[in-house]
Symmetry: C2
Subunit: 352 residues, 2 copies
């Protein structure tokens, strides 16, 4: 081994869900939106003056943060944007989690929290979910260097009420508390109103799920001006220009079409409701889903077996080979047509 | 002050050159390309199937790394791509510079090296340029935790020959050596051929300058499979999907038009050659420029005064208020028309 290899940062990277490029595949494995982005997105790209691409984009991303501020009723200095919510969360770990005390997050949760903590050498303590896969609020009362959890949680799809979030925030005036709301638009109540009351609360959301823009990489955070300023200082110390002109323009277009947004959410929650019933009829059960995916276990067939059989039939869902959840499947809510293919396959499979 | 503020990562961010949005301004301050990107870039965006944006892009960026590998005659596992060369360099600092020994870079150089080292708490020692603003190769023979320097250097625009780069690399088998070639396409010889011989050499380039795509945020690194694999592990531990679908498609289109690329480079080097003569006639001097900018000082008028006067006339150039270079201006090579406005203003100014 060469000597320079001794100084490599060694990490166990997050393994994202497979991204088969074939359009034949029924892709219910990465919680993408089954509907295209708002029509304004196509318009923005198709009419873009590409001559401007020779210039750097505005480093303050002002075009997009202005529209976000208006949409969410906050000041522009309460908005931060990044390359997907992963970039926003990664920057937040780097910015806020510099204590010697461990940060806290649920043991069954978004797998990236542990990966970021390892990468950035942040001490952490995972807090176990209870028997019904719920967060236990008292676990987050102990001394800590920061707190992060998704609401709704992933991969469980369980939503906690606003009072639960406020309870954790109010018990932690000395820590930054990050609520990862990647899936909040599918029926949840955002913690956004609390940022006026708690200057240590950061709410993180994304355009990848409810706004059908996973391919453009846009995430954002809302919080007190002090939190946002600290985030911007770190971001400007890493890369002045994280957001491409194309991301700024398509993000703005997506945000401006509120009717399309509501319609898409409506369709997905409708399909989700049907899915709960159809899957129950097939012997599946799981927590009440409040994200754009379901987390289900079957009364007799092991999840691992179902996962493999579905994959064989070009129906991709997600399976986590981890203690306590290794008999569950995470199934993204697709179009009614995609879901029908899933039900048909499962009905057929159950007969054998 | 709230207690959570004690755990903020405090940094002095890099301050990028101003980005006035007005098209009236003669903008020669951020080393952007004065010509638009290749026509294929407009075509790629204007014909893009925006329905695919609902999906995550391919996490391996295979579309773009394949074309880069072909263009630069390397294997695909020798190519890494990121959100501009700043992202590539930042990830490289995080991946490779984990020694207790200080990393080395020139004292007058790209200002971000110091900012990244501070942000990531990497020890460093700046090596002074000599009296003619050149790197001193022997300064990079001492024990170190890594080496990074731009070639051509910025803001001096001075190019070192390949033998100089190889000398530094060959003296440092135990360190990763990063050659930042953001400006290499404007007449320099890339260190790329050396990556087959030295598995510790990383060559970093960008689409922002020679390919007129600053607005899309695309940078890349070429090196041994071991270096690239280490970079990908860290990248996948931070953000699985850094490159948007739009960046992958426009980057590919830009790379495929070799004729346009050569033509643009030709025009810029031609204008640069004229600029040296025209500015000399006005009393300016400086190192022989080998990037898309000039670094000049005037025989009698202080640079600070000229900078302010130019700005007043809506001609933006860059001024660094730093020891040893505070009597220089960095002037990006613009179109002949933009440069004519600069000369006219200066001629007029000299008369007073």
């Amino acid at each position: 081994m060469s000597n320079w290899m001794k100084n490599l940062r060694r990490v166990e990277p997050y393994v994202p869900g497979e991204q088969p490029r074939s359009l034949e595949v029924v892709k219910l494995n990465t919680n993408e939106n089954p509907y295209p982005p708002a029509p304004g997105v196509a318009e923005a790209l198709h009419q873009m003056n590409t001559d401007t691409l020779r210039r750097y984009p505005a480093p303050d991303c002002g075009m997009l943060t202005a529209v976000l501020a208006r949409r969410y009723g906050v000041a522009q200095n309460q908005v931060f944007v990044g390359v997907g919510s992963d970039d926003v969360l990664g920057m937040s770990f780097l910015t806020f989690f510099n204590s010697e005390k461990p940060i806290l997050f649920p043991d069954i949760s978004y797998a990236f929290y542990e990966v970021w903590a390892d990468l950035l050498r942040i001490p952490y303590e995972k807090q176990p979910l209870d028997a019904s896969l719920r967060l236990v609020r008292e676990d987050y009362y102990k001394e800590n260097g920061g707190i992060v959890f998704p609401n709704p949680n992933a991969p469980t799809s369980i939503l906690e009420p606003l009072s639960f979030v406020e309870d954790i925030v109010s018990h932690n005036p000395d820590s930054v508390v990050i609520v990862d709301e990647a899936y909040i638009d599918f029926g949840g109540t955002s913690a956004l109103p609390l940022i006026e009351k708690y200057d240590n609360l950061l709410v993180v959301q994304t355009f990848s799920k409810s706004r059908s823009l996973a391919g453009m990489r846009i995430g954002f955070a809302l919080g007190s001006p002090a939190l946002i300023q600290a985030l911007n200082s770190v971001k400007n110390s890493y890369n002045s220009y994280t957001m491409s002109q194309a991301a700024l323009e398509t993000g703005t277009a997506a945000l401006e079409d509120e009717a399309y947004f509501q319609e898409t959410i409506g369709k997905i929650t409708q399909t989700r409701q049907e899915a709960v019933q159809r899957l129950a009829a097939l012997g599946f059960s799981g927590p009440a889903p409040m994200a754009n995916f379901l987390f289900v276990t079957h009364e007799s067939i092991p999840a691992r077996e179902l996962f493999a059989a579905l994959r064989e039939a070009d129906i991709f869902v997600r399976y986590f080979d981890k203690p306590r959840i290794d008999n569950y499947l995470r199934i993204t809510v697709g179009t009614p047509e995609q879901m029908e293919k899933l039900y048909t396959f499962l009905e057929d499979y159950m007969k054998h």
